[in-house]
């Protein structure tokens, strides 16, 4: 089944409480996907010339301070880590690509969840209602965020198999549905040099988007490419530095509701996850049409 939530803020008040609102939405979607949960927050952009990375450590006692010292030696400057449960976020005086390469070579035991200027990804194989508390989402402010609750169908319940999946710098994907041609598409993408860490079908969709963007497609073109190149059921929400986009497959078996007020734009698998937002009762509500790309704040979508 799975649940998806997205929230884009239009007011300063809402930005301060973004995490609390997204946590409320995820709790409503907990029984759509009780095995894992994850979020992508867009907040506190790194200064020019710096990047931000989210890292997951499998160790019960991760040595984040030691890593900070190493990053300072390598790149000159790095912020102290912001630790949330099994994850830590570092802001580093480096280009994201350089930091990614260094981390994968020097610390293969760590998983890079996201990289970019403002994105932070946290995800875990855990009950969503527990996840939102463990990761103290209510503390997080930000401009927009996506969330996912997972009911696994295609692959194992692991941290790596949870959503969101990073699809490039400041980009991520959450997926409700299942793809039937993911094995063949994974092999095709592997020949193009894409690397996959799980047997997960959604990771293939993320890899597909990453590959299309790398080959020069705009995000809108890459999403429209899904309509012909992906076989299966999907409602996708894609996070970008400026906003988010939504796409449903042409058959549209998987649900999605969108809502807008003067304060926010939201999407969710079900209305009950929107009903918990302030002013939901007066929101403009609609169901996104199949095979149509919807987007908010995504100036970069067509760039």
């Amino acid at each position: 089944m799975c649940g998806i939530a997205g929230l884009y803020t239009k007011s300063a008040t809402l930005r301060e409480h973004l995490g609390a609102h997204l946590a409320d939405m995820l709790e409503q979607l907990s029984d759509r996907g009780p095995d894992s949960a994850g979020v992508a927050f867009y907040r506190d952009p790194a200064p020019p010339g710096w990047c931000k990375v989210s890292l997951h450590s499998p160790s019960p006692t991760p040595e984040w301070e030691a890593l900070t010292a190493e990053l300072e030696v390598e790149f000159g400057e790095a912020s102290p880590p912001e630790v949330r449960a099994t994850h830590a976020v570092f802001t580093i005086a480096a280009e994201a690509e350089d930091a990614e390469i260094w981390l994968s070579e020097r610390h293969p035991e760590l998983t890079l969840m996201s990289a970019g200027r403002s994105i932070e990804i946290y995800k875990e194989a855990d009950l969503p209602t527990r996840f939102v508390k463990r990761f103290a989402l209510n503390e997080l402010a930000g401009s927009h965020a996506l969330g996912h609750t997972r009911m696994a169908t295609e692959s194992r319940v692991t941290t790596a198999g949870s959503h969101p999946f990073s699809t490039g710098l400041d980009l991520c994907l959450v997926h409700n549905g299942s793809l039937s041609n993911h094995n063949r598409l994974r092999r095709t993408l592997q020949r193009e040099g894409m690397v996959f860490r799980t047997e997960n079908d959604s990771e293939v969709a993320a890899g597909y988007l990453t590959w299309r963007l790398r080959e020069g497609a705009s995000l809108e073109e890459a999403l429209e490419g899904c309509l012909s190149d992906l076989d299966g059921f999907y409602t996708f929400a894609v996070g970008t530095a400026d906003g988010f986009a939504v796409l449903r497959d042409p058959i549209a078996c998987k649900p999605a509701v969108m809502a807008e007020t003067d304060e926010w734009v939201a999407m969710a698998s079900e209305y009950r996850a929107i009903a918990v937002l302030p002013g939901a009762e007066d929101a403009v509500l609609w169901e996104p049409a199949p095979g149509h790309v919807y987007s908010w704040g995504t100036a970069s979508l067509v760039a």
């Binding site: 509701v257 009903a275 509500l285």
Partner: protein
């Protein structure tokens, strides 16, 4: 237990911000008093919850103030359920009799497999409205999405607006009436002549739904060409 407050008008009231859906439905599963006391039920703060007012089997009049989730008024029998808001997936699915009114719009599979009664939707209905319809009538004031009346066997679907792609795919004996445009007909669905008895049928259904500002003469009728009822090798691609 719920604490339904009985007002002077003998109206039972539930607040789903406090009471559970199970408490509401358990009350609705017991018949109202023989004098009709408690037959009118108000439901506040539905908050998109699923399975609100499901499985009714008595002439209740339920009014829901707000948006509901999946399967609202499913399996309805005898009761009238009015939703002053939007509905999630499968409103009035498998309805047997009675009436379900949606004052907003309905998500996919509205009225799926419904066997009797009337489903009136004031807004739009999305994909697969009336899928496998088995005898109920559905009247939509707005438009319907793709695959409306897929494999519908009996009953009527009346659409005052437009119909999406693949209308009436693999249709049996249900009657489809559409006033606006049809994006595309499904396999074995064809346009048929609109005779006077069909205009009268549409008029009666519009009256039943309370849409008296719509002219029944403006509708076109669609039905099954009955070419797929028996297996024929030439039709292999259409099955």
């Amino acid at each position: 237990m719920a604490t339904p407050e009985v007002t002077e008008e003998a109206v039972q009231s539930f607040d789903l911000a406090v009471d559970t859906v199970r408490e509401l439905n358990q009350t609705l599963h017991s018949p109202p008093g023989s004098d009709g006391a408690g037959a009118r039920v108000l439901v506040r703060n539905p908050g998109g919850r699923h399975a609100v007012a499901v499985g009714l089997d008595a002439p209740y009049e339920v009014e829901i103030e707000g948006h509901v989730g999946y399967y609202c008024a499913g399996m309805n029998k005898l009761a009238t359920v009015r939703v002053r808001g939007n509905c999630g997936v499968g409103v009035a699915e498998n309805m047997m009799s009675g009436m379900v009114v949606v004052e907003g719009s309905a998500s996919q599979s509205a009225g799926a497999t419904a066997r009797g009664g009337l489903l009136a939707i004031h807004g739009d209905a999305s994909a697969r409205c009336g899928i496998s319809l088995k005898g109920a009538d559905i009247v939509v004031r707005g438009s319907v999405g793709h695959m409306a009346a897929f494999m519908a066997q009996k009953g009527c679907l009346v659409v005052c607006g437009d119909a999406g792609d693949s209308l009436g795919d693999s249709l049996y004996e249900a009657r489809l009436y559409v006033r606006g445009s049809v994006a595309g007909l499904g396999a074995d669905c064809v346009e048929k002549e609109m005779r006077s008895e069909h205009v009268e049928q549409v008029r009666a259904l519009l009256d039943g739904a309370g849409f008296d500002d719509v002219d029944p003469a403006e509708f076109r009728r669609y039905g099954s060409a009955r070419r797929l009822y028996n297996f024929h090798i030439d039709n292999l691609g259409a099955y």
